[in-house]
Symmetry: C2
Subunit: 766 residues, 2 copies
């Protein structure tokens, strides 16, 4: 079996390194993240305060955001160990790369707070394990090797942790006797003296410490590889490492252990890998994790406890075991990751920051509360929200946050609603907060009023919202850059946001320009119906040159998912339109891997729409199954009671229906990726393939879909409302809902005994 | 023999791919450059208008300047061809990578306008050849394969030209039937719509066109490699390429040819590889180079003629054949490259631009003339020269050119002198040119007066020149960033520059504030002697905090070469000091690979000196044999008649004294690199290793050393002055000097018949 779960689903095990070569999992703490691939490749980043790497590519890598479908190559950063079987004169490597000799048994096992491989070959049983610590930017590695045979075995072990091309200014590597480890040193490249004060604080060293003193070592990548190359390094061919160093050469951390294993003997090696500022820091790390007795295992335990804090407020048991497993073990973990790390950014996009904290509201609502205040304190007095929220001193808006977007205000009430449902924290609404550009303090509620007013002011004469250089869809940057183009989606989102806000105001007796807002909702819905209804669905917007797009007669991009989803949320669509929309999405956008964001994908630049049309067809915003958009749609379906469609699309979001599905997606069901490749009709060969990116607002919305929709266990000021929307073919389901301090154990039973949803006390109490 | 010359030295042949694995050569035209490595790795760049690549690394590469000692790795961009010998079931690759199986014979042959490999294996003789064209950004490749045996041979050929990771926005690859080639398409990543107008003009396609239609192809890197990896690609193992495409996957250009070669049969394949904007452009290229009869060979001839235009004004024949070969064939070529391409930059550093054009003055003086005018037209009215000269519309100052340097004015008279010596173009001095910030037009001479005045004004109360954030030494950025630190070198350089300028003024009767300038020269020299003489050499400068550095008591960086060299040029050093300097340089700085720029190399940051101290010890400005600085020193030695030392250091600059020297430097004598690794006393293991960077102002100064010094054949207003400074152990030498339209054939003979240099008419005329 390719995939097996263990430990009540808390582990997921993959039995082949080749069937899904990009299959991976990730670990994190608040300071770092490591994306660990089943073949041994790794992408790890830490904050100082901007994201930085301690294991690099072998060439100068561009500093950029994490890329979808990141291709790997032999010299990509990774954590490997060569094993030379001297009895059989065979070289192989664990976990798989770089030698890629097949194992007799292979298992890549993704756990909640660790990753390990279990491998068997030639009578050897090998376990290679990674854990993090709670507070340090280091990796804890264990390699256990056991001789399962009855013969003595002579082996050489060569842990190989490449450091890559660290810097053109200065890079070197050498073994340090005192530290009993290899230290690769560098100076981050810079040119302006103004940057020196920052650079001098960087953790520019990368080290590999060993719990057991190695028999030999090599700190020079090229000397290690030689002509043999990575698949058969010359240094290994020659029988022993030469204790070399790297001097303005690409460094590497390679160690050698000569082992004689008697029958059934087992040996264990511990390593610590990571970045450091200086030797003092490495010494401290060595002492804490390797010298002190149990330091290593205590740290693993502490990390595991930390991850366990991200516990769910919903456990389920349903006829769909794939869903149960994902929801009970992996979905809250992914939400927790977002809430804890903010995607390893110092300037998260405002909409991401608010939605990531919406999800965190189910886990650590106190974090969410703080994030709302932080966000709101960066609002302009005009009501406008900035493109990113600065969460570190000295941070600045980077990349896409330098492009003005018009949707950020929308997310304030929308995300706040989930938080208030969960916590009933009405006091937040009255807390007084200043502005980015004014010391005047007004209540959070007044801030939101201002945000809604800003959205209403930024509309054209038709009453539709200007899009400027983008709305939720970042690369839709040329619809309205001349100042005229409008967004159909944003108009509907404004309508919905105000509706949600009015609901909140009503529940918590908050003052707002109620009449004006109610009229605005109607006005927005009317305008969208007047200008954007295309017969079977809503158009996406109107360009600067007054061209309506996202309509049936467009050869490419003729239907976009977002306006359809949000027309359901905003009530713009009447029953007739609603029916047409549901049908259109099903026929035009739904694929075996979920619902596409637009279709057909653009195959060439459309200059009045913008950059989204230049992305590869079927990738990212250009018509992939962009799960964030899909999750809005699913949420909208639940609000309107389309429980079958909603459930089907949730199910399609989680990989693993069968072997073919798994292999096509190429991803383990340990996270929801930001997209699966779309353009299903145009490029069926690649459709379904995972982006492998686990940064996505999707997870928070899917959680809301479960809480508010599928299980119908959402909060209200007065308490918990029970209103499940199980699919027709489920006759029962169980849920444990932790809500405001209490655990509700709920059995949902479809019964002919009742004609409508009926809530009964527990059987014991009957 | 590891190295052989052929074609009267115009070719240089290397017989091993492993002895000097980074050995390389380069080809260029005005729009592109390719740095071709003996193992098949390649770095190529073209201008659009900024430097761009069409063959990338397999990951997102940082956009940066060319890096010294660029490490290669298996997946680095390159041009390769796998050959499967079906009779022997053996796979190998040409020229060497990626399989790296040894050949029976290997020759990497660097020519003036081409590069080829001659290879023999298993009775096959293979030639793989690269040429460029004069005007297009394309590579012309030929693969000839000959069956030298008497048996029929069954072979498969797989040209493999990786395209790398082109873009995260959009990348794909597919075979185009009409073009008979593989086209890899991409969209350069960008995020701001303001960049779209630029991006849309980019040559974002990379293509491989074949003169012979392939039997199969693969456009998908991962599909090609499979589990086999680059050393034994799965697609080749499986017997045939699958005609695949890349859809948002890393593309590659791989073709397959199935060959049956009868005894002694030879087959030839032609390919064109390069970037293009669109299919129309590729069609045009196909037509011009592949469809039209002789298009390919005509283009090669035209390119060869173009390179031949860069002909020398000096051919020599001396007892030093290594020198002859380099000077007659390679040195003018490297100078020509600089003059033609300006290092593939749109904003060359002002000092580089002026010096590169100083060299070009010996080849195409009309280009130099234009460059002077361009430079001077960007001078500020204050006299200040900018940090870079913008030579393309829309160009802007980048990288190091955003850091203010204080030396740029110096290079105007210094470089102009060489041009005037060669051309006697006094009219240039009277040409009227405006300023960057003023329309007022004044003569070039007046511009230079202003530049000299600016240098004099930017001095402290001691009369020493402020250094600000750097002088010639870019990374010496923290000596004077607070506004007080001064540069000893720059003070001497100012003195020398004014001296040269006064000489020019005298020769050409130009008006200048002669009295003031003469006094300034004395004042500068006196100040340097008063504040910077350290007993055995001159200090490098005085920091913001009034600390003199580059002195004997400094534990690191206690002697710098530049002040010593320029104190000879400026006449600051009297005879006594001069002697001490020559001795100090010899004992403190000279190594078997040339003279180091400073010593000892800094091993840690010195915060009052700056970034130079953070570079790896022995690399670049931190104590390498930085050839540019060495060439100043050699030039200075000739001005003072130290002909033995000067000659010895020229000789040390050219690799190839013996096998050990070649292997240690790792570079072919087809160019002078910007540095050889220094820190000879600290890190002897790496000392001498070439940076492999062929962008360097060194070559122009070495040419001046030959013209003005060693052969003493420099121009004056009245004509050619003959004043050779041959080393003592040469008894004769011949030179042909092309000067102002005439060829002077000169035999230099050491004879007891004369007691001083005596010029005789040709023997025939006696």
């Amino acid at each position: 079996m390719l995939l097996k779960t263990s430990d009540q689903g808390k582990r997921l095990n993959l039995s082949s390194p080749t069937a899904m070569p990009k299959a991976s999992t990730f670990l994190w703490n608040t300071k770092m993240m490591i994306h660990m691939n089943c073949r041994g490749f790794a992408v790890s980043q830490f904050m100082q305060p901007e994201p930085a790497k301690y294991a690099h590519a072998p060439n100068l890598e561009a500093k950029t955001f994490m890329q979808p479908e990141q291709p790997y190559f032999a010299h990509h950063a990774g954590r490997f160990c060569y094993i030379k079987d001297l009895n059989q004169n065979e070289l192989f490597s664990i976990p798989h790369e770089p030698v890629k000799n097949p194992m007799e048994e292979f298992s890549f096992s993704a756990g909640q707070s660790d990753v390990y491989w279990l491998l068997k070959k030639n009578g050897l049983e090998i376990k290679m394990e990674l854990s993090l610590t709670k507070n340090d930017v280091i990796e804890l590695w264990t390699i256990k090797i056991k001789n399962n045979s009855t013969k003595e075995r002579n082996l050489q072990l060569f842990p190989y942790f490449p450091a890559g091309y660290m810097s053109w200014m200065n890079q070197s590597g050498a073994y340090d006797d005192e530290l009993e480890g290899i230290v690769c040193s560098s100076v981050s490249p810079y040119q302006k003296y103004q940057d020196y004060d920052k650079v001098k604080e960087y953790k520019d060293k990368t080290f590999l410490l060993a719990g057991t003193v190695p028999d030999a070592y090599e700190a020079n990548q090229e000397a290690f590889e030689g002509e043999g190359g990575l698949n058969s390094p010359s240094a290994i061919q020659q029988g022993a490492l030469k204790n070399g160093e790297a001097r303005y050469e690409t460094p590497a951390c390679v160690m050698q252990y000569d082992l004689q294993l008697s029958a059934h003997e087992e040996r264990e090696f511990e390593f610590v890998f990571g970045p450091a500022k200086d030797k003092t820091e490495i010494k401290r790390i060595k002492k804490e994790y390797l010298t002190e007795s149990d330091g290593f295992s205590k740290a693993k335990k502490e990390y595991s406890d930390y991850i366990a804090e991200g516990k769910t407020c919903l456990s389920i048991s349903t006829p769909n075991k794939k869903l149960d497993n994902f929801v009970n073990n992996w979905l809250p973990r992914q939400i927790y990751y977002h809430g804890e790390t903010n995607r390893l950014s110092t300037d998260p996009q405002t909409r991401n920051y608010l939605q990531d904290n919406m999800g965190m509201g189910y886990i650590k609502p106190e974090v969410t509360r703080k994030a709302f205040i932080t966000s709101i304190s960066q609002q302009e007095f005009s009501g406008a929200m900035p493109d990113g929220i600065l969460i570190e001193e000295g941070a600045e808006l980077k990349y896409i946050n330098q492009v003005p977007h018009t949707d950020h205000c929308v997310w304030l009430p929308v995300c706040l609603k989930a938080y208030l449902d969960e916590t009933n924290d009405w006091e937040l609404l009255h807390q007084k907060v200043a502005f980015a550009d004014s010391d005047e303090k007004v209540s959070v509620a007044q801030h939101i009023n201002k945000a809604m007013e800003w959205l209403l002011e930024n509309r054209d004469e038709r009453g539709l919202n200007f899009i400027n250089q983008g709305d939720w869809c970042d690369p839709m940057n040329m619809v309205g850059y001349k100042g005229k183009g409008v967004s159909g989606w944003l108009s509907l989102a404004t309508s919905y946001a105000i509706k949600v806000w009015l609901d909140i105001c009503e529940s918590f007796e908050i003052e707002s320009p109620q009449g004006k807002f109610k009229a605005a909702i109607e006005g927005l819905n009317d305008s969208v119906n007047a200008y954007l209804w295309d017969g079977n669905w809503y158009a996406r917007g109107i360009t600067d040159d007054n061209v309506v797009f996202g309509i049936e007669k467009d050869p490419e991009g003729r239907i976009f998912l977002n306006p359809q989803a949000w027309s359901l949320l905003s009530n713009a669509a009447d029953a007739n339109k609603e029916k047409k929309i549901i049908k259109s999405v099903e026929t035009e956008l739904e694929t075996p891997f979920g619902v596409e964001m637009l279709s057909p994908s653009f195959t060439k630049m459309r200059e009045d729409v913008g950059r989204v049309t230049q992305k590869h067809p079927g990738s990212a915003e250009n018509g992939s199954v962009y799960n964030h958009a899909a999750s809005f749609y699913i949420y909208a379906l639940y609000t309107k009671g389309y429980k079958e469609n909603a459930y089907r699309l949730i199910d399609k979001m989680i990989p693993g229906d069968d072997l073919a599905d798994l292999v096509q997606r190429g991803q383990l069901p340990v996270f929801i990726p930001n997209y699966y490749r779309g353009a299903y009709k145009q490029f069926p060969h690649t459709a379904g393939r995972s982006s492998q990116l686990f940064n996505t607002g999707t997870v928070h919305w899917i959680y809301r879909c479960l809480i508010d929709g599928l299980f119908g266990l959402s909060g209200e000021p007065e308490g918990l409302r029970v209103n499940p929307q199980l699919p027709d073919d489920w006759n029962e389901a169980q849920a444990v809902r932790n809500f405001r301090g209490a655990d509700f154990h709920i059995d949902i039973i479809r019964s002919t005994a009742v004609s409508e949803t009926t809530v009964c006390p527990p059987v014991a109490a009957l």
